[in-house]
Each structure stands twice: as structure tokens, then as C-alpha cells.
Amino acid sequence: MNEDAPRDGDGEGTADGRTDGGASEVGMAASGGTAPEERSVAGRVRGRLAQFGRLDLSVYALYLLAIAFFVFPVLWVASASLRPPGELFSYPFRLLPAEISLSAYRRVFRAGMVTWLFNSTVITIVGVGSVIAVSVPAAYAFSRFEFTGRRGLLGIVLLFQMISPVIIIVPLYTVMSTLGLLRTRVGLILLYVGIQTPFSIWLLKGYFDTIPQELDYAARIDGCNRFQTLRHVLLRPVAPGIAVVAIFNTVLTWSEFVLAFTVLGSESRLHTISIGVYKFQGQYSNDWRAIAAASVVGMLPLVIVFLGLQRYFVKGLIKGSLKGQ
């Protein structure tokens, strides 16, 4: 964009960085010193630069606002969790703890945090794995088979995405009870798979659709049956989609509360992080420090995993799925 500014004569064209497109990609690599360079031609294009600056400034302001809005609660929880007893609700208000205390964490771990972490981890890993194991073949079928009622069936599957599990929680409870799945992890996992599959199928089908059918043909000519085609040929190209689905479902599963609470009931050995946190709302008072500490511990694994993978998540989302023409 640096060279663009003087060259481009159409008045307002470059005012929008959006449109710089390819040029800005190139400019970006060498950028960093964008602003000074622009200023060097300020004489001629002062008006436009003022606009540049204004837009940049407002975008920066937006960034700051967004970061403050979105990060503050998380940091505040962290700060609350590190306080000694009594300091959280002492007066005057303190943003940061006067002294660091790990007593809330000790309490949380004594109360069964290891169990909750373990349960959440098992349920998430097995659950997400199962979602993928179920939805990949289904998405493949919807993408690759021509059969009567395919569109209709896909529509029906998607329709289930419109049904929130909260709505059917009462009969679900009966179903789980009948199947003997109440108070079991398997039951909860199966339930999650049943509920999260439609959206996963829909996402994955989008990825399958981006893979040319010729790849399937080539594989068949090379002697693959459909299963082998999926395994040897298609699985790798849809891997970004699988990653997106995995991350999506991990977030959903890890943080799910209502179903876990309903299915697992009072079986505290099976409780997950969400339930664990909730348990610190006590008989006479809420143990806010413990809630904060449990929240931090509960979020941490997901935050770490997510910070590591968010790049792939975003990339995967960009890569396929929704038709953007």
C-alpha cells in the first residue's frame, strides 16, 4: 500500500485498506514502517492520509475496547482466585490481590478437581473422537452418494441442529433412564455424540464437497473400495475440516453443563468441571474464591489447547465448509 498511495489517482480508492488486496499483501511483508512512508508523501495526499489515520485509529480503539471487554473478566477471575480468604469482598475494592494465596486452589483440589478434570478430559476426548468417527462417514455419504431423498435426509439431519437439547431434556432423561445410561459417562458421551453430530456432518460435508470427485474416481481405478478411498485418499484432504469439527466439539463438550448435570446427577465421582465449579455455590454462601480458582483450572486446559490450535481452527474454517462462491 505504500507505493499505492502516491500512484493511485482515484481519490478515495486506497482509503479502504480492504481493497488494496494483493498490493497490501506485498506491502504487508515489508511493512511495519507503513505510517512514516505514507507521511513522506503527505503533501500531496494529506486529506487521504488523514482518513487513513482516522480509520487506523478507530480500528485500534476498537481493538483495545474488544480486548478490554473480552479479557477483563477472565483476568479478573484469575485475580480473584489468587486471594487469601476474605480479601475478595474486603473494602476497599482491589483489582489485584494484595498478597498471593493459593489456598483457594488447595481447596479446589481437595474438593475433587482432579476427578473433575479427569472426567471432563475423558468425556471430551472420547466424545469428540466418537463425534468424528460418526460424522465423517455420514458427511462422506452425503457428499458422495447419489440417492433418492439425499437432500431431504440432509435437511432432516440439519433440522435436528435446530432442536436444542434443553428442549428435549425431559424425555431425554426418560430415554437415558430406560437405557440405563443415567449416571454413566458412556451415557453422557453417547448423548453428546447424538446432539453434536448434525452440525459436524454439515461442516464436514462442506469440506468433502470441496474435494474433486475425480480423486474418488482415481482411487477407485487404483482399486480402492469406498472405505479405502475415504481412509487413504479423502481423509487427509478433509483433515482441516476434521480439525475444525474437533475444536468446535471440544469447546462444546468441555463446557457443557445442563446435560452433564442432568445425566450424571449426584454421582460426584462422574462430575465434570462445569458441575464442579457450580458446586461451590454453597448452602449459605458461595465460595467465590473457590469458584474462581475452579474456573481458572477448568479453563486452563482448554485455553492452552485452544491457543495452540486456534491458528489451525481459523485456517480450517477459512479453507472450506461454507460455500463462498
Binding site: 475425480e214 480423486l215 474416481y217 482415481a218 487404483d222 487413504h232 485418499v233
Partner: protein, 394 residues
Amino acid sequence: MTDSDRSTDSHLEVRTLDKTYPGGLTAVEELSLSLASGELLVLVGPSGCGKSTTLRCIAGLEEPTDGDIRIGGRSVLGRRPEEREIAMVFQNYALYPHKTARQNIGFGLRMTTDLSEETIETRVEDVADTLGITELLDKKPGSLSGGQQQRVALGRAIVRDPSVFLLDEPLSNLDATLRGRMRTEIQQLQRDLDVTTIYVTHDQVEAMTIGDRIAVLRDGQLQQVDTPMSCYHEPANRFVASFIGEPSMNLLDCRLGPTETALTGTVDYPLDDRLAAAASEARERGVVLGFRPESPTLSTATDGDDAAAPSFTGQVDVVEPIGERSFVYVTLASGPQVTVATPGRTPVRQGASVDVRIPPAGVHLFDAATGQALVHPDRDDQPDVAGITTEELD
């Protein structure tokens, strides 16, 4: 290789093939083809004409609704692709993106044979050597150029030593220069391997240059199967006439005049006996007058009248110089626009009035209703300018 008798010991035979999709769409209808061993047949037609469907039926990727497909004299219906001894190359190459070129080429052997790793390795390397891609073997498709990918795709096809080779628009993803080179290479390879080949393309120029014979397909129906020259000079019908040849044949809708010695309509064209006899077959239905852009001559209106051929006045719309020749688009006074090929340094200018002289020796007549050819010019009389020299232009 125009000897039609080779079809008697045909290696690949398609008999009255029908393919109708569940939705009711008929992709291919009553299609019959017969290829001699080692022959290269080009299946050509506009997109959606059913050529790729035909190819996929032969490959076993789709089941025909009716008809038979025989390879080496035996029906292959119901057999799986890998059992048909065929290999296929796709328009977009369909290379497995996560496998190296080596793995791509060897994959089929690994899946279908019990060959040892070493044998597979040797065969892959032999093929790579043939195609000159040895140094690319450990790269993945993503880091290969279009031409290199094309070669890997070919390698994947020939490593299995197929008895029938199916190429589906193999060149259309390449740029013009590369296309010309690859075309020659494929031709060369096909001859060397002496493998029966069906080559699908929508590009008639490609079809003309590469095929031993070409089969022209339209709306799922076979129009003509013949050598490229025959298709060009003796198109079986109006569609083939307009499809083969660049620029297309001029086609003017006429009727047979009351005296049956002249056509009337968009142009009034006197007929000699030979033409009149042919035209009389379609006297009720109307006649289409066709001539290749190469056959007429142009003269400026002020030139003296040469009575050897009927002449029509018109005005030049556009002159397209392409080097040794130019194409002149002329709107005739009676209405229709015709294309005329002239020598490169034609003096005509846009807007000039010209006479277009159409010699009877270059005239094709078609039945206006059925489209069937009524008469073709004698081959010997044709001017020796082939339309196919424009091939590099597209």
C-alpha cells in the same frame, strides 16, 4: 490409420450404451463405438454432451443403464474399475494431495497387486524415467507445476500397464504453450505403448490433431465417427460441420427454388446439376447451404465480375488478421453474416463493400430439418488450406 477394417478385431467395444440418471436426465443414448487395439479415438463434443459419462462408464465408475462394454472381447459390465485393466487421467489430474509423486504413482499397485515393495519401486522409477520426472518423485503435487502434475498423473496411469487408456480432458488445465507440447508427448507415449486409448476433449482442434479417429458427440448422441479429415471435409451433419473447423463453416438457411436449379432464401444461389440433384432430396424441408471460410474469395465491389462463381455483395464488419491469413466478417446485402478467410495481406478494410464469391466446388448442402448432409464437395477440389492451422490461437 484410417483403415476402418481394424474395427473388426476391435479391442474396446461400446455397444448401444445408454446412461440415464435417476433424475431422468439422459446423458448417453444408444452409443456404439469400436476401437482397434492400439488405436486412439478422440471423443469430442461441447460440454455436457455425455463424453465424460461415456468415459466413466467404460472405466466402471458408473454403471450404464443399458448396452454393453467389451474389452478384449469380454464384457466388463459389473466389473470393478481395477479389474477392467484400464487407467484413467483426469482433467484436474486428481493426484492425491498428501502423497508424494512416488506414492501417487505406486498407490494403485499397492492396492491391487501383491507385488513386493521393491518391484513396485522399480516399476514406479521406470515409469518416472520414461516420463522424465525422476527428480520429482519425492515432491507432493502441491509443489509441482501443472505440466509436472500432468506427467505424474500419466505415470500413475501407465505404471499399471493398462490395456485401455482413458484420458478425460487431460490438457485443458494447461496453458497454451504447454498444451501443445504435452499433446505431442501424449501422442508419442500412446504410440510407444501401443495402448488402446479414448481421449475426451471439448476442443475440436485438439481432437483433430491428436486422434486417429474422432467421435463427435452431441446431447448424448453420436454424430459421426471418422478420421479427422473426413469429419472436416465430409461432416455427417450440420452439427459436425459447425463444430469441426475453426472458424466454423458458414451455414445459410435456404429453400429450393421453384425451378429446383437455385436456392432462395437468405441468399439466392444457383445450383449446378450435382448440387441440384442432392438438394432435391430435401425439397420440402429446406436446404442449408454450407461453405468453409476458406472456399470463397473476396473482391472489392469495383472489381470486374467473374462469372465463374455466384457472387454476393456485402459490407465488411470486422477484419481479423492472424498472420498469414485474415478472417473477414462480411454482412451480405441479403442479411446473413459470413466469415471468409483471405490471405494475410488482404487490402480490405472495415466498412468496405465487397463481393463474396462462393464457388460451387466448395459447397456443402444439408437437410434443414434433419441436419443430415446432402452433398459434400469433392475432396480433390478443396483449396489446400486447413482450418486447423489456427490451433495455437485459442
